[in-house]
Symmetry: C2
Subunit: 733 residues, 2 copies
């Protein structure tokens, strides 16, 4: 009895010590290598969590799940690691699922929560079965810990012969486990939830049997009703606009409650929703004291920043950031009202914004893994041909920005099987066109032809093949790399021979029944620019005859404006793009937008702006793809981008685009690059890699302590070493 | 209030009526077409249930899961059917999972449990998300019911365009739903459990702090302790033999309980186990009043029967039936003590026994689907090369016995992808040999070579290709059928040119480094006989030089004895096989077997019989493959087998094999074929197809009302029409 009490006390002290230590670790963000974390089969938590997330969509109270295949985790998974212990070690085990534990292949009876591993070399294995949630383990001793150095498999093939000897010919393939920052043994992966914080409404209009509450701006979370009492119906109609909340018949989301509360009670809605306004309607004798919300958010850190001499532009940047914050959740989603799904084309833009905002790699990886799901590939990602390609491009960019070779190599087998699916769908000319099961999306645009072989799809296909070649090389699959390179080269040549129209000075939109059409659209042409597929002469032709040509159908979604403006920026048209941004995003702000929209057509008026998909409030007023100024301002005005993977080398090429001054920070894997630029002064400071500052000056630039090279007439370069502040005096053109 | 009560009463009356009707239906086994049942994506319940079942294995208290990939159901599934209703209909909905309901594509809010479908043509759809259990629905109206005429998909691709119009180009593939006899809306698939019935121990030996209970014979179920009280440890050690139950250190299964019961309580063990004996040991002040068990069994009907003039043979048949009963559970498993897994080679034999015992097609289909799992194929079935082939063979036989074209066509895509996996693993000579990840099993036998290209594997491969050709044809995939036929023919020719040894009069065991070995084993040679691959002359050579040759290594498992004896029966050696059966199975009976074993070697003595896999009680004393006399006696003594699929035509060729008389029944899809045969009289009566009775007679046979044809000297045939009794007087040779 006495002994039991003692050890209980000891145990508590140790727990306390561990807690204190963990707090310290969090405070100083150190000792990461020594932290145990929950581990699982790579991709499985991502897939499982995306099932949870994407099946939360409702439309007017009815469940609205995705229409593509949802995959599942492996239900039976083996984890192991070999340790060489200096002394015997006590190890705690936390497991999601039914499991066994083996030391050197010998099973321990029951479901032990604590084991002792003797000194010396030993292999610790746990095998876990779990159907409803992802098999996962958390192992914590003094040196024995679960982390991403463990190996895992979904088929261990540990068979024995008739004598009981375990086969040594099983040829099991082990891969690195998946993990994330889930470091609390008592919060297993299945219990993961985004944090919330309470927020109050800014204005509440009381009505007969209800009220309308305004939360001041677009927001996301769980409505909380305080002091609810009575018997009857209580309906909540959500609105991104006041019009929507007031439209009982047509608002997109709602909660219909039946209550019978004899004493006052607070009630939190079970599903998070997007709204600025809520409209409640009671009947019976229901009363409600007040309303608030629990704002739900992802724990990411704002690292990038931008400020300029133009207040409207600053506001566009800030609202972009807020729009992006709202759409950065368990994954990068499309929009917070609907669909709240993980769309590959949408997420691809979020990745790029992320590199100039949070530089949060885990959310990128999680989203890529969730989209890809499991083999076999039975359809394009989200069923959309273009979206399969954006997935490849997402990995291309991820590697450029982060330099994370391990993720590329780990993901390479999944890339290969998706590319096999694509390659198997080429037509006799080696091109891709619609086949049953395909959705050719491109953009939301009236009368956009999807017939025949669309040039835009071939361009994305070509870049995807280039991505495969790069990733095959990084994964040491040189035979495949050579083949992908060959396929990419052949396809690029074919694109130019089939679609480039000398008279139109552009790539035409498509080829139908073997004949190029006369139709010129912006899509392939703008991608051709920042993919660097055009010759310098072709770029200029395209700029004039397509990008700056009002005769070519306009783009009305921020989705494709992203690429259109990027193409113009890549051609040095920052001044033009600034005007466009102020018109387009500024246009939304003038209409009272507190976040940026799924689509914006300046020709529409009033509540017309809220309609889409044949529904008066079908449009989402907070769509991730509306936040692209984050990316454009970081990459093309502050002018920071990696030249080699992970910012080992990079360029800083500030462009005022007509502004008096700009300043901001761009995050990299090893810290921020800070840039300031006015018409007379450029300041750069970086903690990462080696940069090249490029700028033009009318005068001979001057700097204390920095070597300025004149590259050509009026064009200068300064090498930026890390942890050194550079100040250049110059005269902008 | 009044109205509510009325409708409540009405509702109860209707329920009562439905219950009565269902009882009537069950009693008369009619009106099946009008019964609603739970439906799911085909194969998904089977896969899910096999995960539940196969993860119940424990070894000395530690969880012992399979070592191959376990698949999962699709978590998001759409079900639909179009109805043409004469009048409006009220329909009840029961769903496993989160769901929506659409009539003609229009969603109904919430999770309705009852809907009204208007008169006329309408499409009813339910889309269900469920991660932990199989998405399943049960729909019941007057005419609108869930049954196997519904269609389903895991990717409905119901996307819309910007105007809200649903795509008409999605090209979704729908397949027939899976279902089974789960016709109770209140018992959903996830709640499925085998029934149990209580049984008492036949003898209980009290000991100090415990007791040993004997249940009289091998059995399976949940131990129930009655009137348990006290505080302390209570351990239960299970034994198929008394020796095992008494071996606290080495028995294979056990339950270790810690109790603190202040009043008497009955306790049922959570996991079912196999045993004849249990040995309990208590400490502290624990007392137990008595012990019983809940015998767990599958609801299958005994249809086949066999009886003869030989009492020992009758006992062998009865114990075989009991052995088979114990191993027929949610699936056909290998053994009830361990592994309780769905092994393809083991199940294949159960299928064949089943056709002469229960003729229970659902258990065959469920087992085949569970084994096959989902794509992608990452290993052979159960990781064993031979076991992939038995899976194909299982479908071949299933079609021969049942004539169920629908199952073949539904399963054909899964057959194709498994065969693709196999074809991709051929070596440069088009043969199969070990590759990393493969287990070449063949049989449990000492020093059995698995090196090089084993002839046995090529034979199974060839038969699998023939199966593919047959199933491709049944699925109208004629191009594939021609290709599989060609591959099979080429392979068969190669087998004979590489392995047939004129001097050995047999197929040799293998080819190593391009050279045939000198080694002759029974495996390929016995399969060659009943596959009918040999010429008549070769058959005789093989019989003499292999099957009846004591110099060739003996077979010690009932598993391969099955095929050995089948080959001999196919050669007309019933008299020899009868002696072998009496020796081998009779040998186990003499040792007190109450069910047949995993392995039996007459040279061993005492407790040596219980050892295997290097463990003193590692052997299973109740293994499905021990029950093969069921099959041999039905097929080769009663002599009944289908000639065309589903017994449309069949043969009855009774063989006494030295017995005075035999009689029995063989089930078919349309009813039983009853056969009696003595040395002077043959009686046949059938309710199925058209049979051909074949027999030899020394005298000219006589029958009232049956035309007897003499086919050749002393060999006679009678055409057996259904529902007509035939009595033939003859004189056996």
């Amino acid at each position: 009895m006495n002994k039991l009490s003692n050890s209980f006390l000891k145990f508590n002290y140790r727990n306390l010590f561990v807690s204190v230590l963990m707090v310290l670790c969090c405070m100083f963000d150190t000792a990461k290598a020594q932290t145990a974390s929950w581990i699982w089969y790579p991709g499985d938590f991502d897939i499982w969590m995306s099932n949870v997330m994407q099946n939360r969509r409702t439309e007017r109270g009815s469940f609205f799940p995705p229409f593509w295949k949802m995959d599942s985790h492996y239900v039976l998974v083996d984890f192991h690691k070999e340790f060489d212990l200096k002394k015997e070690e006590e190890v705690k085990l936390y497991v999601e699922g039914q499991y066994n534990v083996k030391i050197d292949g010998q099973a321990i009876a029951g479901f032990p929560k604590q084991i002792v591993i003797p000194a010396g070399k030993h292999k610790l294995s746990l095998k876990v079965y779990s159907q409803d949630k992802v098999p996962a383990i958390f192992v914590k001793g003094e040196t024995v810990m679960s982390d991403d150095s463990w190996l895992t498999t979904f088929e261990d093939k540990e068979w024995i012969d008739a004598s009981g000897k375990t086969s040594d010919k099983s040829g099991t393939t082990f891969v690195s486990v998946g993990s994330w920052n889930l470091t609390d043994p008592l919060t297993p992966p299945s219990a993961f939830k985004l944090p919330v914080r309470p927020m109050r409404a800014t204005k509440v209009e009381k009505r007969k049997d209800g009220f309308i509450a305004d939360f001041g701006k677009e927001t996301f979370g769980f409505i909380k009703l305080h002091g609810v009492k009575g018997k009857g119906k209580l309906n909540i109609y959500y609105g991104e606009s006041k019009e929507e909340a007031q439209s009982i018949e047509k608002c997109e989301t709602l909660d219909l409650l039946e209550l019978a509360l004899s004493t006052k009670k607070d009630t939190i809605m079970p599903l998070s929703k997007a709204f600025r306004y809520i409209n409640t309607a009671f009947d019976g004798d229901i009363t409600v004291d007040s309303v608030s919300m629990l704002y739900e958010y992802a724990q990411v850190t704002e690292k990038g920043s931008f400020k300029s001499s133009d207040e409207e532009l600053n506001q566009i940047y800030d609202i972009s950031k807020y729009t992006f914050e709202l759409n950065t959740r368990e994954f990068f989603i499309d929009g917070i009202k609907r669909d709240r799904w993980v769309w590959s084309g949408d997420a691809y833009q979020s990745y790029l914004m992320n590199y100039y905002a949070y530089f949060d790699s885990p959310t990128v990886k999680r989203t890529l893994l969730a989209q890809r799901g499991k083999d076999p590939v039975t359809a394009h990602i989200n069923t959309i041909m273009d979206y399969s390609f954006y997935w490849f491009l997402g990995i291309y960019d991820y590697y450029q920005y982060t330099g994370d070779k391990k993720f590329v190599a780990d993901t390479y087998p999944r890339m290969k099987s998706l590319m096999d699916y694509v390659l198997n769908r080429r037509n006799k000319d080696g091109l891709l066109e619609w086949m049953p099961g395909d959705w050719i999306f491109i953009d939301w645009a009236d009368k956009l032809s999807k017939e025949g072989e669309v040039s835009f799809e071939q361009l994305l296909f070509c870049r995807s093949l280039e991505t495969m070649a790069m990733c095959a090389e990084l994964s040491n699959d040189n035979v495949a790399a050579a083949n992908y390179n060959k396929l990419a080269k052949e396809l690029k040549a074919k694109i130019f021979s089939l679609y480039w129209d000398e008279n139109k000075h552009a790539l035409v939109h498509s080829r139908i029944a073997g004949q190029p059409t006369e139709n010129v659209t912006r899509y392939a042409n703008m991608f051709g620019i920042f993919f660097d597929y055009f010759s310098p002469a072709q770029k200029l032709e395209v700029k004039k005859h397509v990008l700056l040509n009002d005769q070519i159908n306009k783009i009305t979604t921020p989705y494709m404006r992203f690429y259109e403006l990027e193409a113009l920026c890549a051609m040095g048209e920052q001044a033009y793009v600034l005007k466009e941004m102020k018109n387009y995003w500024g246009g939304m702000l003038k209409l009272g937008a507190t976040s940026f929209w799924e689509e914006y057509n300046p020709d529409k008026t009033g509540a017309e702006h809220f309609a889409m998909y044949g529904r008066p409030f079908g449009k989402s007023l907070c769509h991730a793809w509306g936040a692209s100024p984050i990316y454009l301002l970081g990459k093309y005005y502050l002018g920071v981008k990696p030249l080699s993977p992970g910012y080992e080398t990079y360029v800083v090429e500030p462009q005022l685009g007509g502004l008096q001054w700009i300043e901001g920070k761009v995050p990299t894997p090893s810290g921020d690059i800070a840039v300031y630029c006015s018409k007379k002064e450029i300041k750069v400071k970086s903690v990462a890699g080696t940069g090249t500052l490029k700028f033009k000056s009318k005068s001979k630039p001057v700097s204390k302590g920095a070597a300025i090279k004149e590259i050509s007439k009026g064009l200068y370069e300064v090498t930026v070493e890390k942890n050194k502040a550079y100040v250049i005096n110059y005269t902008s053109l």
